[in-house]
């Protein structure tokens, strides 16, 4: 069974630029999560989707971050414009159902200069 796929694996941008990350969850997993992991901290949930609907985006900085899961499968997370403090690893995870075991992708490491 293929795991959660993410791309790109690494990205370096300058502040005020925009960036987008892509995630393909495990086949059949209805719930998809985006996490931000800053160096030295644990992952922090940014947004949770159930199929193509948003369940929780309470910790998403909506002035600069956006995410979508249009067809209930793949998802993209966008930052526009990026700030220095956005430097982090962005992890995507999926689960069969809400509250189920979450399976994580390898993450995208973002560096904002």
């Amino acid at each position: 069974e293929a795991g959660v796929a993410q791309s790109p694996r690494y990205k370096i941008i300058e502040k005020r630029q925009s960036v987008a990350f892509w995630c393909n969850p495990i086949s059949g997993h209805a719930t998809l999560y985006w996490y931000q992991q800053i160096l030295g901290q644990g992952p922090k949930l940014l947004i949770q989707f159930q199929n193509n609907g948003v369940v929780d985006d309470s910790q998403l900085p909506k002035d600069r971050f956006s995410a979508e899961r249009l067809k209930g499968v793949d998802s993209t997370l966008k930052i526009q414009p990026a700030k220095l403090e956005d430097s982090a690893v962005y992890l995507c995870a999926s689960s069969l159902e809400p509250g189920g075991t979450q399976y994580f992708g390898p993450g995208t490491r973002l560096l904002v200069l």
Partner: protein, 117 residues
């Protein structure tokens, strides 16, 4: 407000000995706890979990203990192996209204475990 804390940034143990990783939480609503393991350049992988109705859960070499009164949980690895060297995260969650699923995970900051041959 850090609701889940792992106060030891790192732990070093000898192969074959016991590794004990600790985690404290402040949110009284948490009733489900998980441990994840993370290797470099990989995403976290689920290791073991425990519900608040239990005080111990065991899976092979891994045992999680929960002390609800102290709001403390620990992960024991016996015997430790070099392949166990990784970052370990604990996470807490609470049962959602309806009682059939758990809400979002709140992670601690992680403990780096190094097991020496």
């Amino acid at each position: 407000d850090q609701q889940v804390k792992q106060n030891s940034p790192s732990l070093s143990v000898q192969e074959g000995r016991i590794s004990i990783l600790n985690c404290d939480y402040t949110n009284s609503m948490f009733d489900y706890f998980l441990w994840y393991k993370k290797y470099p350049a990989e995403g976290p992988t689920f290791l073991i979990s425990i519900s608040s109705i239990k005080d111990k859960n065991e899976d092979g070499r891994f045992t999680v203990f929960l002390n609800k009164s102290a709001k403390h949980l620990s992960l024991h690895i016996v015997p430790s192996q070099p392949g166990d060297s990784a970052v370990y995260f604990c996470a807490g969650s609470s049962l959602l209204a309806g009682g059939t699923s758990y809400g979002k995970l709140t992670f601690g900051q992680g403990t780096i475990l190094t097991v020496h041959p």
